[in-house]
């Protein structure tokens, strides 16, 4: 079962990643907008912090060495998967 705290942490991460996606697409067509680059870099900082907090509590969010460390046993296989939440 997914606890409310896990959902809440994930939701904050999803919100900040949405900010980054929007700025990323905007910057692809406005690469000289300094203010947007600054906002993007701020979002990156927040995402790094939120991801670290989430992964320490619930295991890696990404595979192939790109996510956080795993505790034992191997946390990547833990359910629920995203479509089950």
């Amino acid at each position: 079962m997914v606890c409310e705290e896990q959902k809440k942490m994930l939701c904050r991460l999803q919100e900040m990643e949405f900010v980054a996606i929007e700025l990323n697409l905007y910057l692809d067509t406005h690469p000289c907008d300094e203010e947007a680059i600054n906002d993007y870099n701020c979002a990156v900082k927040m995402i790094k912090r939120l991801t670290k907090e989430y992964e320490e509590a619930y295991g890696p969010l990404m595979h192939f060495g790109m996510g956080g460390f795993s505790k034992e046993p191997w946390q990547w296989v833990e359910e629920p998967w995203p479509w089950e939440m």
């Binding site: 949405f18 697409l25 692809d28 067509t29 969010l61 595979h63 995203p82 479509w83």
Partner: protein
């Protein structure tokens, strides 16, 4: 290289299972204007784009569309959760249960399987970006048709997010089309010149 993130781009929620609506929403999984078509169309067109910006935009939107395909699969998963063969039959989707049970399969709302014919790549950046803008509008319209056909406020909310993304993508592709047109005017670009480097 692609890396999987063990989360959706945004939560997808339903109030209750609704197999009849799952039968309709599956078109955004494997229909002509669905998310599989969108992601493959954009990722595949990258190789004939002339600028770093265009290559980046197709990479980024193509990747976001893969995330949307997973969100649509999640909707179908939740709309059919716990449904028995009788529920599928009553919803007019007995064919799905017969061939796939609760498994996911790429078809449109009429059961027509996905085909590469849904996507185009002419290798001409103006042609391909124009195709992408049309594709975003077709996806937007399909989401509107779907939103009109459900009374579930959570499903409407989930679909509205995806609807809104089509509007943003259309805007970005339009900006990129202008940019690439400017680039080609400056460089007197033709396919042959580009191949010569």
């Amino acid at each position: 290289m692609w890396i999987y993130e063990k989360k959706l781009e945004r939560p997808m929620r339903v109030s209750r299972p609704d197999v009849a609506f799952a039968k309709l929403v599956i078109t955004q999984y494997g229909g002509p204007d669905g998310e599989l078509s969108a992601s493959l169309r954009y990722l595949n067109q990258r190789y004939s784009m002339p600028t770093g910006q265009a290559k980046a935009l197709l990479t980024d939107i193509g990747t976001e569309e893969l995330a949307h395909m997973e969100m649509i699969a999640t909707l179908v998963y939740k709309l059919t959760e716990g449904a028995d063969p009788c529920d599928f039959q009553k919803a007019g989707w007995g064919g799905q249960y017969t061939q796939h049970d609760h498994g996911m399969f790429w078809t449109d709302a009429n059961g027509v399987p996905w085909t590469a014919k849904y996507i185009a790549c002419l290798g001409d950046p103006i042609t391909d970006l124009t195709e992408d803008m049309a594709a975003e509008q077709k996806a937007r319209t399909t989401y509107e048709h779907l939103i009109e056909q459900t009374c579930d406020p959570l499903v409407k909310d989930s679909l509205r997010f995806l609807w809104e993304r089509e509007v943003v993508h259309f805007q970005r592709f339009g900006e990129m089309l202008n940019d690439v047109q400017g680039f080609m005017c400056e460089h007197k670009w033709t396919g042959e010149d580009m191949k010569k480097g």
